[in-house]
Amino acid sequence: KVYLFNVKDSCRVQSSGLKATVPSQAPAMIFAVPTKVVSETGSVAHYMGINKVPELQKIFQKTDGAPVHLKRGVMDKMLYRTTMGLTIGGTLYCLMALYIAAQPRKPQ
């Protein structure tokens, strides 16, 4: 897959099968960065933490075949399994509760 970040509308996807509207060239930026470069802004760039986005972009673009909801490994897997467990368990509980609720009550 070709990943483009912050490329203006005038640039089109560069790959076989699409008409190129600009001369073939590498995408302007591989990773998104704030418009102000770190060296220009000095202390402001570290206001409330540093930019970890490029690092995260590397992690999420690893070609390991993992779907996006499991891309971060163990934590994702645990949360997914918990959610799915509650889904299936909840469905069974629900069906049972509805079955019981549908049973006629003996008149008092």
């Binding site: 897959k1 070709v2 990943y3 483009l4 970040f5 912050n6 203006k8 509308d9 089109r12 996807v13 790959s15 076989s16 099968g17 699409l18 998104a32 960065v33 704030p34 418009t35 102000k36 802004t41 402001v44 760039a45 206001y47 409330m48 933490g49 930019n51 970890k52 986005v53 995260l56 972009q57 992690i59 999420f60 673009q61 070609t63 779907p67 996006v68 909801h69 891309k71 949360l79 997914y80 918990t82 959610t83 799915m84 509650l86 889904t87 909840g90 469905t91 509980y93 629900c94 509760a97 509805l98 609720a101």
Partner: protein
């Protein structure tokens, strides 16, 4: 390696639509079980599942957009259409409650005393807390616009400050409205006045909470450098939603609080 020959987003298979649908099933069945059998287990389970679904689904969208670059201009256009259509559906939702209010208040029945507000109802003074609430929301509309311009101009500190202020104003509105609810001399059970008042303002209050939460998520993302000056649609969507909430309040204030008193 294969390249996709188009700019659209072919999403990875995801379990969240299923878990969300089951959450809806559990919440609705749970509501019925609560009403008839006094057990809140099923409904609570549904709520937990809903929260888990929302967290993971929206987390994945952020991953796909910010970290994987899937939100190309055509994709972003689709997201814009989606948000606009969603807000439009919410407008229709509120339109229904305004219809109900005007239906009952324009031609008050003899049972109400033939007048509006109905006999026995002391409405809230529109020029006390409700007017303050109006000022609070209008101010928050200014601060959210300030935040937008700050983001577009790459002013990180200002963006964080103005977005925080917007959220604080939203929380202030909620707190004020909560005290109004507590102090009100009438309840939801007080005829059609109580019903229309609390259902319309109640759903509005819920939307203020939802909007504040959306803005809070945007604040977290802004702090974490997710937004760039050219690409920050998540924030724009939150701002649109916030303006919508503000406009609904203005209609509520003029119709129910002011004209309706």
């Amino acid at each position: 390696m294969a390249h996709q020959a188009h700019a659209y987003h072919m999403v990875d298979p995801s379990p969240w639509p299923l878990t969300g649908a089951i959450a809806a099933l559990l919440m609705t069945s749970g509501l019925a079980i609560w009403f008839h059998f006094h057990s809140t287990v099923l409904m609570t389970l549904g709520l937990i599942l809903l929260l888990l679904t929302m967290y993971q689904w929206w987390r994945d969208i952020i991953r796909e957009g910010t970290f994987q670059g899937h939100h190309t201009p055509p994709v972003q256009k689709g997201l814009r259409y989606g948000m606009i259509l969603f807000i439009t559906s919410e407008v229709f939702f509120f339109l229904g409650f305004f219809w109900a209010f005007y239906h009952s208040s324009l031609a008050p029945t003899p049972e109400l005393g033939g007048c509006w507000p109905p006999t026995g109802i002391t409405p809230l003074d529109p020029f006390e807390v409700p007017l303050l609430n109006t000022a609070v929301l209008l101010a928050s509309g200014v601060t959210v616009t300030w935040a937008h311009h700050s983001i577009m101009e790459g002013e990180r500190k200002q963006a964080i400050q103005s977005l925080t202020l917007t959220i604080l104003l939203g929380l202030y509105f909620t707190a004020l409205q909560a005290t109004e609810y507590y102090e009100a001399p009438f309840t939801i059970a007080d005829g059609v006045y109580g019903s229309t008042f609390f259902v319309a303002t109640g759903f509005h209050g819920l939307h203020v909470i939802i909007g504040s939460t959306f803005l809070a998520v945007c604040l977290l993302r802004q702090v974490q450098y997710h937004f760039t000056s050219e690409h920050h649609f998540g924030f724009e969507a939150a701002a649109w939603y916030w303006h919508f909430v503000d406009v609904v309040w203005l209609f509520l204030y003029v119709s129910i609080y002011w004209w309706g008193s």
